[in-house]
């Protein structure tokens, strides 16, 4: 069953189109990767799907959530959908979390709002979720403030908050871009585990193809506000149809290649030495090297 679908989505600012004719569909257990470079329109697409477009931007086309068009939904209707049907995780958990509220209360917040749990039950579920996202010592950690935990732990908290109300779609926009590589690997593994466990549909947005390719089964490629390619991840990687997707895959393959370096010591030193000889060691005072 399709949960989220958009067709002919166009986003304009002052009449200028920033995203044109975008289309995507998500059903339970789908894992869709949306890839593109900066300015491609991928994040704007995500914001439109969440009813969070910045003031002044306009969306046309259809945004169907459980079959109902939400393009012109009121703030109240969007608030009912966000956090419950559609959840989100962004790049920087430090800005997504309230700096003055304990981790436990932040995870409990949506549970009280959407599921009407009382404080004690919500707190118990928050502790449960800390276990599920593998945070250390949940009983104590729920009392911590966001700045007291590490960046990776904050992203685990953000994931717990997003998934606590059992949403059916998780929109993750560059969720690991701000993290160190080893922490990124842990968060990606956790994300994989959680979407498998919960059956939530994933829309993973990133500029980083290898990161997306690890999780997504379907890939969408955007460029300059348009969808240039869409297909099974394996097909897009192995047999990209558009020049741009081919270019993107090739660049990513080369940039992430672990190469025993091509720079050979002896050879480079020769070039260097001959160049040093050519290079005038100018220094007005006439000294070379300058050590007294």
């Amino acid at each position: 069953m399709t949960v989220l679908e958009t067709t002919d989505l166009t986003i304009t600012l002052d009449g200028q189109p920033l995203v044109r004719d975008m289309a995507l569909r998500l059903a339970a257990r789908d894992r869709v990767g949306l890839i593109g470079e900066s300015g491609s329109g991928k994040s704007l697409t995500a914001l439109a799907l969440l009813g969070l477009l910045p003031a002044g931007m306009r969306a046309t086309g259809r945004i169907l959530i459980d079959g109902r068009d939400h393009r012109d939904a009121s703030d109240r209707e969007w608030r009912r959908v966000r956090g419950r049907t559609l959840a989100m995780v962004f790049q920087e958990p430090l800005t997504a979390l309230d700096p003055l509220m304990t981790v436990g209360r932040q995870i409990a917040g949506p549970l009280r709002l959407h599921e009407g749990l009382n404080r004690a039950d919500a707190q118990r579920r928050a502790i449960d979720w800390c276990h599920r996202v593998h945070l250390p010592d949940p009983q104590r950690l729920v009392h911590a403030l966001p700045h007291q935990i590490s960046g990776g732990q904050r992203q685990r908290v953000a994931l717990a908050m997003a998934l606590a109300c059992r949403p059916r779609v998780l929109i993750a926009d560059e969720p690991t871009t701000a993290l160190d590589v080893t922490v990124q690997a842990q968060i990606l593994a956790l994300l994989d585990e959680l979407i498998e466990e919960t059956g939530v549909a994933l829309l993973f947005i990133s500029h980083d193809l290898p990161v997306v390719a690890g999780l997504a089964r379907h890939l969408l490629v955007m460029r300059d506000g348009r969808l240039v390619e869409s297909g099974a991840a394996d097909n897009v990687l192995r047999r990209p149809r558009s020049d741009y997707a081919r270019h993107l895959v090739r660049s990513a393959a080369q940039v992430t290649r672990l190469a025993p370096t091509s720079v050979d010591h002896g050879q480079t030193r020769d070039i260097s030495d001959s160049r040093m000889a050519r290079m005038p060691m100018i220094n007005e005072s006439g000294t070379e090297g300058g050590q007294s």
Binding site: T182, Q184, A185, L209, A252, P260, T261, N283, G289
Partner: protein, 259 residues
């Protein structure tokens, strides 16, 4: 092995009020022709080390040596001329009010190595061409260029005084992947063609493997492993190096056409 051009001996840097030193007894030697990658995650001490090597910060103990003598006694201009740097974000490292030609020519003027005005202009045109820009681009301003082009401008500025060493701090991390590839290829070409020795600070072991013959892996202010890049990649001795290697996101293997 030839003498190191730039060397750090037992470098330690403590910051007041911090329980652990940011850098803790690090030895480093940069030799002509052997590009060195300094790899690690946040808090590893990479940037602290780079600042000490650039002489913009002083070690709490230990010593930086340039061309065989302590940096403290080296000729400042000679050092600046031969040790140039490129930073991560070309948006903040280029003065927006200066033309590209003025930016690129600036080290020549301040170091007084470029000769007269005409020779300086020739050198600026030469390095702009070397980084894949046109001499006419010198009349334009940084905001008129894309992120990748701005990084080319920063590289041109660093190359202008014909340095022996180029220190680069995460030079491609802020760039889109296709642009990243172009800048890596440019650096590769410059290293080979000009005989530059590159000291590359990066969290990205793949980029380092493509540009540096030697690698040094750091964690919590210490060196956990160092050696020829090929050896460290194929037979990592330290568990942390193995974790770093395993964490690199990879496309599926045997995408024959793309590699």
């Amino acid at each position: 092995m030839n003498e190191p051009i730039l060397e750090g001996r037992q470098l330690t840097r403590r910051y007041p009020g911090r329980p652990h030193p940011a850098l803790d007894g690090v030895d480093i030697a940069v030799r002509a022709g052997a590009g060195l990658g300094i790899v690690g995650e946040s808090g590893a001490g990479k940037s602290t080390l780079l600042r000490l090597l650039l002489g913009v910060d002083r070690p709490s103990s230990g010593e930086v040596r340039f061309a065989g003598a302590p940096l403290a006694r080296a000729d400042g201009r000679e050092f600046r001329r031969h040790v140039q740097v490129v930073f991560q974000d070309p948006r903040s490292s280029l003065n927006p009010r200066m033309s590209v030609a003025a930016i690129v020519g600036e080290p020549l003027r301040s170091l007084r190595v470029g000769g007269g005005r005409t020779e300086r202009a020739e050198r600026v045109a030469e390095v702009l061409t070397a980084v894949g820009l046109r001499p006419e681009d010198g009349r334009r301003y940084p905001h008129e260029f894309s992120g990748g082009q701005r990084q080319r401008i920063a590289i041109a500025r660093a190359l202008a005084p014909s340095p022996r060493l180029l220190l680069a701090d995460e030079p491609v991390s802020a760039l889109d992947v296709s642009v990243r590839l172009q800048i890596v290829e440019l650096l590769q070409e410059l290293v080979e063609r000009l005989g530059l020795t590159l000291v590359l600070v990066s969290h990205d072991l793949a980029i380092v493997s493509q540009l540096c013959a030697e690698v040094m892996v750091m964690r919590h202010g210490r060196v956990v492993e160092s050696g020829p890049t090929a050896t460290v990649l194929t037979e990592p001795a330290d568990a942390y190096t193995r974790d770093l290697l395993a964490a690199i996101p990879q496309l599926p293997q045997n995408l024959g056409w793309a590699s």
